[in-house]
């Protein structure tokens, strides 16, 4: 059986590769890709030599900002983010885990003031070994990354 992936290359745009399996759809929401007119290719649970299994997103005709690239690290520290121009990789983002993120997540604590007041969410982000933890600025509760939903 052929292991190669039959996904066509994009001429211009951004390729987010080596995404931790299962995180691609959260990154789609993070970047609000579901609301854009750009052509998006999403691959889930693809074979990967490095990760075993991975997700992949190709965004045609949109270049991510440095901030957007860094925010992806929260969902997938292993992700590689490359800018494509005329079918060639012209830039590889050097990403790092942001220490805070605002307006991105929803606090899952039902008793948090952000559940009842219209207020921009604000989380501090820390890495404990391989685990990414988010702490709500308001209620001070700490959550695993996968407990926290992206606001849409």
């Amino acid at each position: 059986m052929n292991d190669t992936l039959s996904v066509s290359a994009i001429k211009n745009g951004t390729v987010i590769d080596h995404i931790s399996a299962g995180q691609a759809l959260r990154i789609v929401h993070l970047l609000s890709l579901q609301n854009t007119l750009h052509k998006i290719t999403i691959g889930l649970h693809l074979p990967s030599k490095r990760l075993g299994v991975k997700d992949l997103i190709k965004i045609e005709n949109r270049i991510l900002t440095e901030n957007e690239a860094n925010e992806i690290v929260v969902f997938s520290p292993s992700a590689t983010i490359n800018v494509i121009e005329d079918f060639n990789v012209t830039k590889k983002f050097n990403t790092y885990l942001p220490s805070i993120m605002k307006k991105v997540f929803i606090c899952p604590n039902g008793s948090c003031i952000t559940q009842t007041e219209k207020v921009d969410s604000h989380f501090s982000i820390k890495l404990y070994g391989k685990q990414i933890k988010l702490t709500c600025f308001f209620c001070d509760k700490e959550f695993d990354r996968d407990q926290v939903k992206v606001s849409i």
Binding site: N109, C112, I113, Q115, E117, K118, V119, F138, C139, D140
Partner: protein, 308 residues
């Protein structure tokens, strides 16, 4: 005159306070308790905003402000506010900030004080936000322990009851982590200390352990700190299930160390039998009375450039 790191500062969480700062608060409170000082807040207005019921915290804050010469405004019940008409906490706080020099806030939602502080130009003191924090109570607890044991370092303390939802326990445990103390946590397993707080204690290397009965820890400790089950944080069925697992009686105190003191942030429900009030171990009413001098110290430090 001492430099004052609290001037115009919010007090939202025990995590905001360092050891030297605690010492400044405790020593200022000690001076406030020992003698009456010139009224240092005669030109100030304090807003006491209690969106949730309170007896000791609200009245001791108001008494502290009056003793320092300040004037009080505020409310003890959200039912009298325009919040009933749909006004947000944001707008309520923005308006009160125009009327007062300092805002004391208690609110059932966690993070409400942090939001108020984000909105207000004037300093905000968290007088309890849901099950999250109650830092001024934790300072009163430390002051009381220092008073009744003449030290904090080296003590063994048991924290008993609802360790999951009791904000006094969360704030107090964080302050304890700055000292050389041994902690015993006694609770039903469903109400044990949140993992994040346990992780903090581990990082600081503080010795602690978990227990399910009072009998096994009473002979070991210098401080027995009881809390009530936080009924308002439960669904009705869940509350019935966990209610009153611990009741301290005089017979349980037979093996207690002679210097043991019992604390409770009050109100109590069934955690301490009335008969215990008459033993030399009971110290919870003194603890409640210390609320005034410690809150005087905080108001004085936050609203004056120099400490006493």
């Amino acid at each position: 005159m001492t430099a004052n790191p609290f001037y115009q500062r919010d007090l939202l969480s025990s995590k905001d306070i360092g050891l030297n700062e605690i010492n400044l608060i405790l020593s200022t409170a000690q001076k406030m308790k020992a003698t009456s000082f010139a009224k240092s807040l005669t030109d100030k207005i304090i807003a006491h905003c209690f969106f949730e019921p309170s007896t000791r915290t609200r009245l001791s804050f108001e008494a502290a402000a009056l003793r320092l010469g300040a004037q009080n405004i505020g409310f003890a019940n959200k039912d009298v506010l325009s919040i009933q008409k749909g006004e947000t906490l944001h707008d309520t706080m923005r308006m009160i900030d125009e009327y007062a020099d300092l805002i004391v806030i208690r609110h059932p939602k966690e993070g409400a004080a942090a939001l108020a502080a984000q909105i207000a130009k004037h300093p905000v003191i968290n007088a309890g936000d849901g099950a999250n924090q109650h830092p001024t109570q934790a300072l009163i607890d430390l002051f009381t322990i220092q008073e009744c044991q003449s030290r904090i370092d080296g003590l063994s303390m048991a924290l008993v009851g609802d360790l999951k939802f009791a904000r006094t326990i969360h704030s107090f445990t964080q302050l304890c982590s700055l000292y050389d103390v041994r902690l015993y946590f006694v609770s039903p397993s469903s109400l044990s200390l949140p993992d994040a707080l346990c992780d903090d204690l581990k990082k600081r290397g503080l010795p602690f352990s978990f227990h399910h009965t009072l009998e096994e820890i009473i002979p070991k400790v210098d401080i027995l700190y009881l809390t009530r089950i936080q009924q308002e944080r439960f669904n009705v069925g869940d509350y019935e299930w966990v209610n009153s697992p611990f009741t301290l009686t005089t017979s349980l105190l037979q093996k207690a160390k002679s210097n043991l003191k019992i604390l409770h942030p009050l109100p109590r429900v069934d955690e301490i039998a009335r008969e215990v009030d008459h033993t030399p171990f009971a110290y919870y009413f003194e603890q409640a009375s210390n609320g005034v001098c410690v809150r005087q110290a905080l108001l004085h430090l936050i609203l004056n450039k120099v400490a006493l």
